[in-house]
Symmetry: D2
Subunit: 333 residues, 4 copies
Amino acid sequence: MIIHLKNNLSQERIAAIAQQTESIYTKDSNGTDLLIASSKLKVLPAELEADVEAVFPMSTDIQLASKDYKQETRKVTIGNVQIGGDSRNSIVIGGPCSVESLEQITQSAELMKGLGITTLRAGCYKPRTSPYSFQGMGLEGLMLLAKMREQYGLNIITEVKDSSHVNDVIEHSDIVQVGAKAMYDHSILKACGKARKPVLLKRGFGTTLQEFVQAAEFILSGGNEQVMLCERGIRTFETKTRFTLDLCGVAFLKEYTNLPIILDPSHAMGYRYGVADLARACLAMDIDGLLIETHPNPEVAKSDASQQLNHEEFTAMFKSLEPIARAVNRTLV
Amino acid sequence: MIIHLKNNLSQERIAAIAQQTESIYTKDSNGTDLLIASSKLKVLPAELEADVEAVFPMSTDIQLASKDYKQETRKVTIGNVQIGGDSRNSIVIGGPCSVESLEQITQSAELMKGLGITTLRAGCYKPRTSPYSFQGMGLEGLMLLAKMREQYGLNIITEVKDSSHVNDVIEHSDIVQVGAKAMYDHSILKACGKARKPVLLKRGFGTTLQEFVQAAEFILSGGNEQVMLCERGIRTFETKTRFTLDLCGVAFLKEYTNLPIILDPSHAMGYRYGVADLARACLAMDIDGLLIETHPNPEVAKSDASQQLNHEEFTAMFKSLEPIARAVNRTLV
Amino acid sequence: MIIHLKNNLSQERIAAIAQQTESIYTKDSNGTDLLIASSKLKVLPAELEADVEAVFPMSTDIQLASKDYKQETRKVTIGNVQIGGDSRNSIVIGGPCSVESLEQITQSAELMKGLGITTLRAGCYKPRTSPYSFQGMGLEGLMLLAKMREQYGLNIITEVKDSSHVNDVIEHSDIVQVGAKAMYDHSILKACGKARKPVLLKRGFGTTLQEFVQAAEFILSGGNEQVMLCERGIRTFETKTRFTLDLCGVAFLKEYTNLPIILDPSHAMGYRYGVADLARACLAMDIDGLLIETHPNPEVAKSDASQQLNHEEFTAMFKSLEPIARAVNRTLV
Amino acid sequence: MIIHLKNNLSQERIAAIAQQTESIYTKDSNGTDLLIASSKLKVLPAELEADVEAVFPMSTDIQLASKDYKQETRKVTIGNVQIGGDSRNSIVIGGPCSVESLEQITQSAELMKGLGITTLRAGCYKPRTSPYSFQGMGLEGLMLLAKMREQYGLNIITEVKDSSHVNDVIEHSDIVQVGAKAMYDHSILKACGKARKPVLLKRGFGTTLQEFVQAAEFILSGGNEQVMLCERGIRTFETKTRFTLDLCGVAFLKEYTNLPIILDPSHAMGYRYGVADLARACLAMDIDGLLIETHPNPEVAKSDASQQLNHEEFTAMFKSLEPIARAVNRTLV
């Protein structure tokens, strides 16, 4: 249950109501004091009515993210670009899997700049499944990304893989990406809740839609309303492709949640050959953005070599998105 | 291994080579005598060389369907409509889940006719998972579909669920649909191999891409080259939607096989609300056709009530496909 | 809803009630006339009460197989062996994947005989996923199995893969095995419903427990009460093993259904090395039987070579089952 | 590749070789200096041969955990109890899902003590999927567990859910449990690598066996050889049970890895009714231990209420394990 408190309550009173209802307290961007209790709470205790402006009983713990609470898609501002709300914008985010060197990331930044793309992605902390492979450049990579922001005016998105570096990423990026393997991590989710940066939350490959949106609730109820959901493929019995992109799930998210949706066909597919087709299909789903991997020289990439487009392929793919965007009444930003 | 025989061999000689190489014999549409042996056979026995025109060693038992054997997409002719080959056509097939009555199927036929759609779908033999629910109208339904063909000049597609009625369906339909639960059935696949009608083969919801295309090999090696592959959702851990439409798998099929691809977003989604978005996404994958369920009055449908569009929704969805088709350089037929 | 009719009704009256309630009619082994309507029917129409002895409203279409209808496990008789009921017997069934020759199947039969095992398994009609691999010996294999029955007094179980040979298998075997890929086939299920032989129904690898038991309902409502459920592994994201044996699902089946349960660790595992451990684990689940593949010379087996135990391994495995059986108060038969 | 260095090398020389081979350095319990390079390294550079005692080229990044490197199961010591090695011991670990109060955890401790069980489990930091449900008692719970150790002489195991509290858990427990949702977290894995406490690593419900064992490699290569693998159910299409316990996967782990295996049927099943059968089946797999949830009053448990046995059920289950242990030549500790 979401509870809108009256706006003249003391902090002590709010704390008392929160304790009684076992609620989380936050203040939304309209300045309203909110308490969010378990969705099992269906009726407000009568003695609290005097302190309460409105209550929203909810059917599941998808609460702040639910269209039943707030119908319109939430607005997210990335630099001077906006998605969600009534914008009809779709953001395209490109860049390599990992920052590997100044030269490599500069080439990527120049590609984005040249295509009019506003946001550059690249990983610094790689959530590899083996200890014996490349683990990312860490803070050094983050500094290279910050340099690209300065030099090219690009927004930067990079991934948090565990809580040891979450504050570094929050400080140095424009969008904080919470990785598929880290999305259950409460320390990270809580840090993101306190951050004043947009968060792109990736769905775990074994994560149900219910759990996925509930992870977003950790951030929303922490006070950060700028959360984007990113579907990037789930693990199924089919192994000819790396993962299975769940567009039926995307339809569900569009129908029931109020968060902007960004899709990542690169990780889902795992192979260069399907990425452009899938990128067009994703955009035709009428969603808020795309995340696509591209590398100046995929053959020598230190991670995910097989799925990164080269710059020529990326450029062709990007240009082919324009008519699809028009067809679904979207503007690429 | 696919073996092209020289064109003057006697039936006895062909039979002898087939036995020696444990091959299946068929004649292709160019009149070439083919033998298809296991893909484990990598080198032709030397003593057979004199009788052989060409050999194609293959890496897996995806052989006749493989782009390594035949690069261009195979051509399929449905009435006076063609897909595959160099046509760039995408066929839209609509209609209800089941034939329920003359009145209902007539309404469906009129909708298709009115929109310029050439092919009507509807099930007569329903592969229900419970014996205690509606099992379809059977042959009576098939006769109603045949009537629609006569009356409206529509092509008819209906599903075979087991081998007891496969010959009836082959006789009375223009496309034989092999259902997701029947696609391992060798009796059906063999009957389809002998048929001179296009076959739409649905992927089982627990079927790997390898097995799926190998099922098509049963039909192709039986002598019927007009096979279309239909992805309709696989079963995964996610249960908010009925199935998970596997567009990564579609990218694989496009890359490695030479069969036209038809997508069925209705069964994948299981709910009306996502079907139109998914239909647009499917078409943006640059595929050969769509299969969409629509019912004059979905609320009272005897099967799959929740996923069938009403006629207004279907019409809106159909009209929205046009700009997507243009964007990927396709013509709707 | 299961409806027990009074025992003096005319066939016309029964047919009329069946039509009114959209029910399936059968007579159970106690001579009671049963009608089984959809589980959506919760209340009997008042005008029928005079003709009805008892009604059992059911929560799902698992009806005749449900413990809510009949608490005790159903009794199945295989030759002079009985499982289910109050027997506490567990049957061990062994033999090769396929009948390959008289010599091979004789060796298998002698192994079973020597170990005191009563039932021999072997496939004649192989549901292979490729048309270019060994498809089984067909009727010839069935005749070899019949010979083993005569010569060694063994019960025979073999698999139906499609409806073209279902009557042959019913005629010549002691247990009719419905294969994992054929279990949705209504023609086969209906033929089994009319048969007077026990049926072993395998769960499809993509089949939910609900669908699996509903397939058994087709047989039970057809008039054959001797149905055994066989779990043999489901398809999951894990591919190091062939399938994933679902023992949690077995716990569900034991809790909610009244059908004996036979487990097949060989197909689940797909590799010889895990079969003996899994066989012991299965038996420790307190179930009614095991199906284990063994071949006189697995290296040269024409199908499933990697998962068949050799005779020495099978013998050791079989002997190790005895203390497990005692531990769960079961007798091996 | 695992490289055993000669035992007189300077730290500088070791560092130089590590850098050249992109290896991780550790010292094993025999005092050998080890370098572990990527498994892609198949041949040692010739110039290093003089410094190297032995090399083990490995086929995958399962290296230290592989039977190809070390055949015998690794020994793990928990208080005065030992599993693995040549012990043939199987440890039974019981206790509630969460520490809820002193009274509750005392009842649990007394049950364990009374049954002769040496190790008590209970969660303090709960990895809940909703922010609006009970999140555990945190450090306060950990202190209650420490009290139980003192008072009853029990070993304590509790779960780390994120890296913010990993050091607290390492300090106050006897076994550090890395939870299914945290097992990809490198911060936690590295902290465990440095710890001198046994670690129980749970498999993620969407984690392949390969990834699972590679997560153990992070700990092993960090210098901690006492790692136990815990299978607790994977996520599949079947939803009648909470997860699907993967005993085929356990057979794989037994065959290819040298780490002791502990199984958790409670989380896999999710319902009380199947736990005892599954516990017996797990032990019959011939594994090193079991983790079973039990609560003094499951109906009021603050988490996982449906799957916890009450004390009577737990006692009956525990007693029924004895004959199974004997059947597979194991001793319960």
